[in-house]
Amino acid sequence: METKVMASFFSSALNEKIKSFIGRYETKRSSILPVLHAVQDENDWISQEAVQALESEHGLSVVDVNEVLSFYTMYRKNPPKPYRLEVCGSISCWLHGADKTIAAAKAHIAEGEKNGNPVPFECHKVECLGVCGYAPVALVNKDRHLNVTPELAIKLISEYSKKELPAAAKKCASDLAARSAHQ
């Protein structure tokens, strides 16, 4: 048994945020969705360690949290790449060639991997993003982009790749590095 006081799994700012969410709604359970959003915003994904910490530090049941975590698609259960290009593949976007956009983006990412010049991107097809008139629609992390043709997708990938990595991505990378060092 460790004798020293265990440090919190979360940063103090995040702990404050979690506490405020827990007090914000009528029941504690209602805070699960916003709390998971907050954890993901800071760590870039939600690890099972975080889920356990939510129970041990904040009293949210792991079963309840995991039910929610596995039900909703926005929560990332595995460490992601710093940028996610999420292209809507539902009917309206598909009619405008979303498949081509996805294929082009994936090919571009794969090519980067192959050439030893990887881009910090991953590309997914997602269901309707709710801006169907300006298809195909895509999100890069939290930024929405409209009329994402294959050309625009590749342009977006290279533009974002040039930027400084988001804070969450940096934290995710350092957490993972710390974890593998620990093992």
Partner: protein, 197 residues
């Protein structure tokens, strides 16, 4: 209770006379004998036990257990043969198999061959083609011999291997499992569809 009178009508036998029919019979015997002596006809008699008679492939003789292509026993210990057996001669003790696809297997599988009536219901009942009846019909033995066929014996019939050897491996589709579903945590599957944020 109804019964059948096997003997012919005595009147008819008297009319024809025993002698006449006996002579006809003897004639047939002599003709056949002569043919065989002069090599004009093959003998149907088998020189048992020097020569073994070959029954049809589909002969329902002593049982054997089939194997999967990897050599493990096919039987899943479902007890359907034992349930179906009218002579109650099959004893099975089931156990946990490490195979995640088919987690049950017979630890013991025994057939009390003296009680068996060779009806073939076990074969019929088997849902996985694990038990079959083979061409082995000669099962004579001594009183002190073991008459309960064990699983090992049923699986590895050295004595009759040449007859049932290749048949012992069933070609039926395996119930196999993909590695990805062996995760011990049902909650967290990785990438079950291309949907994902």
């Amino acid at each position: 209770m109804a019964y059948v009178n096997v003997s012919r009508d005595p009147e008819r036998n008297l009319k024809n006379g025993y002698l006449a029919t006996s002579l006809v019979g003897m004639g047939t015997t002599l003709v056949t004998f002569a043919k065989q002596v002069f090599g004009l006809e093959e003998s149907n008699t088998v020189q048992w036990p020097e020569v073994e008679f070959q029954y049809s492939e589909r002969f329902k003789g002593a049982h054997f257990l089939t194997k999967r292509p990897d050599g493990r026993v096919r039987c899943t210990a479902c007890f359907l043969c034992a349930t179906n057996c009218p002579a109650q001669c099959i004893t099975i003790v089931a156990g946990e198999s490490p195979d995640k696809g088919v987690e049950k297997y017979p630890v013991r599988f025994e057939i009390d061959i003296l009680r068996c009536v060779f009806c073939g219901f076990c074969e019929e009942a088997c849902p996985v083609d694990a038990i079959r009846m083979g061409p082995e019909y000669s099962m004579a033995g001594l009183a002190e011999q073991k008459w309960v066929y064990t699983k090992d014996y049923l699986l590895e019939r050295d004595a009759v291997k040449r007859k049932v050897g290749e048949k012992q491996v069933s070609k039926k589709d395996e119930n196999t499992k993909h590695d990805t579903v062996e995760s011990s945590l049902p909650g967290i599957h990785t990438g079950h569809s291309e949907h994902g944020h």
